[in-house]
């Protein structure tokens, strides 16, 4: 009986350690829905990503946005090699510096990337609009969540 009790306590201790190790900050990041899973609803969807604690909200969002996803129905909004590199906040206007490859995005892919960036970063307190720059040139300006309609009923 004592042996079982000891094993149970050891298991609990391991669980506690594991939960401490998994500690961090949760950030809601918007992703593109993989074409195979586009069955009604929206072409973008959010997921929660955990990043290191101690980062500012925007840095945490940048780190989370740049990471990939394990969920098969979602994919990263930016293509491989294109990342958010930096940011500046002026009042409520957030300017994101991105890799030059962003400029090559066009059509629906560009709209999806803009939408995911806007919805992810405008969710941060104090951010009202998002602009995207690459090599100092503005690629998208002052985007807000109102500029996107995710579902027919939401229009």
């Amino acid at each position: 009986m004592k042996r079982i009790l000891c094993l149970a306590l050891a298991g609990l201790a391991l669980l506690a350690l594991a939960s401490c190790a998994a500690g961090g900050e949760s950030v809601e990041v918007w992703r593109a829905v993989s074409p195979y899973y586009l069955e009604g609803g929206s072409a973008v969807r959010s997921e929660t990503v955990r990043v290191d604690a101690g980062l500012s909200a925007i840095d945490a969002a940048v780190e989370a946005f740049n990471t990939g996803t394990d969920r098969p129905e979602l994919r990263r909004a930016l293509p491989e090699g294109v990342d958010v590199l930096g940011w500046t906040l002026d009042g409520g206007a957030l300017t994101l510096a991105v890799s030059p490859g962003y400029a090559s995005l066009a059509g629906r892919a560009r709209t999806v990337a803009d939408c995911c960036i806007t919805l992810t970063f405008c969710a941060i307190e104090g951010v009202e609009s998002v602009s995207v720059h690459a090599l100092g040139a503005a690629l998208s300006s002052s985007m807000t969540p109102d500029g996107f309609v995710l579902e027919p009923q939401a229009a």
Binding site: L38, G41, S42, G107, R110, T111, V149, P152
Partner: protein
Amino acid sequence: MTAAPEAKKRRRLTQRVQFRLVLAFLALIIALLALLNSYPVAASRDIVFSEKESSLLEQAGVLAASLAALDTLSGDGAAQVVQLLGLTGWERVMVTDAAGLVLYDTGTPSAEGRYALFAETARALGSERVFYSRFSGGAFRSSAAMPIARDGATIGSVYLSEVDSGQAEIILAFRDRLFAVSVVALAAAIALTLVFTLRLTRRITRLSEAVRTVREGNYAQRVAVEGGDELSELYADFNSMTETLQKTEEQRRRFVSDASHELKTPLASIRLLADSILGSEDIDPATAREFIQDISDETERLQRTTEKLLDLSRRDDGARGERKAVDLGRAAEATLRRLAPLAGKSGVDLRCDCAPGCLISAPEDDVYQIVFNLAENAVKYNVPGGSVDVSVRAEGGRVLLAVEDTGIGIPPEDLPNIFSRFYRVDKARSRERGGSGLGLSIVHDAVAALGGEIRVEPGEERGTRFTVSFPALDGKGAAK
């Protein structure tokens, strides 16, 4: 005797046959009604879905082709085309450019100037034709999207949506009506099932009660047979069984009574004679000797009766002697030689016409019993100057033994009973001639045990003729 009714009282509802039958019927009926309620509605919905798909995609295709023909894809141009095509009956018509920017939208509020990220527009911009439809909230909600393609490139998309409550109402009304009919049908089915199962279980209960009555010893119990179903057949079988039981019981009682009587009569005589000897002090030796001779005769009769009863009892228990090949002709001749003194004393001519080589498979003692009893009866119940003809012959794979006498004969009404135990045609004469009423019973049982048959019929002129047929045995010892 009271255990069964108590058990009946203790039986729970779920243990009753009626409950189980009702449950099974109800499960079946409910399953059928569920199918009846769901399948037609689902099939109707599928038909409407198919119709919507065809209609929406066709309209979207026309709109996309018309927009592709414009020099520039713009909101105004799209509005004109929609007006021109008369696409005003749709819930929503939306046109986007290649990036998903809404150029034209009839939705409320309008999404013009915003980017549409619906799954439909996203897939249409990926050059797919898209159709979705669902039935919810009392309406068919359908949407279709299609790319606007020019020179092999997608320059935008069209999106059409429709909410159709008219067809939905028809299907819902149909569903409600089906449901109402189903409720009525279910109620009728429950009522019919209850009536039907009650009738069925009542019949089973009647039979069960009759079985209990028989178990308590009332073999006269019968159940009225109605109809021609399996239960009626069971009733008829039950009646037949109780009839057999009743007959057997009557035979058993009669046998006990007859046996007691047969044993009591000689015993009474013996006692009377013994008392006479003991009560007469000056009885002369000749009279005493005569009385003692009578006692001896009665004792012999008692012995014969008990031996025959024991023989019948052994046969009833299935005791069989060892079978061997027996030449029936020779056995008959040997048996008749033993009867010759009795025949001579009775003035009866005993004749034998026995063919040689008529082999049968039987215990020798049984063959002797059969021939002896038949021939002895033929001599005993004959008339002085009469004759007994015994013949043995082979015929068609059988060996036939015939014993015919010229005696007093057997009345036709007695013929069916002569093989019953203690049955006598003429009781007084039979006892007088030393008959026990068991000889023909022994013959009958022995013949049956050997796979044979016995037939009795009046003689050609008078008397009686017994014919016994046995399976013949070939020379190698196998029955033919």
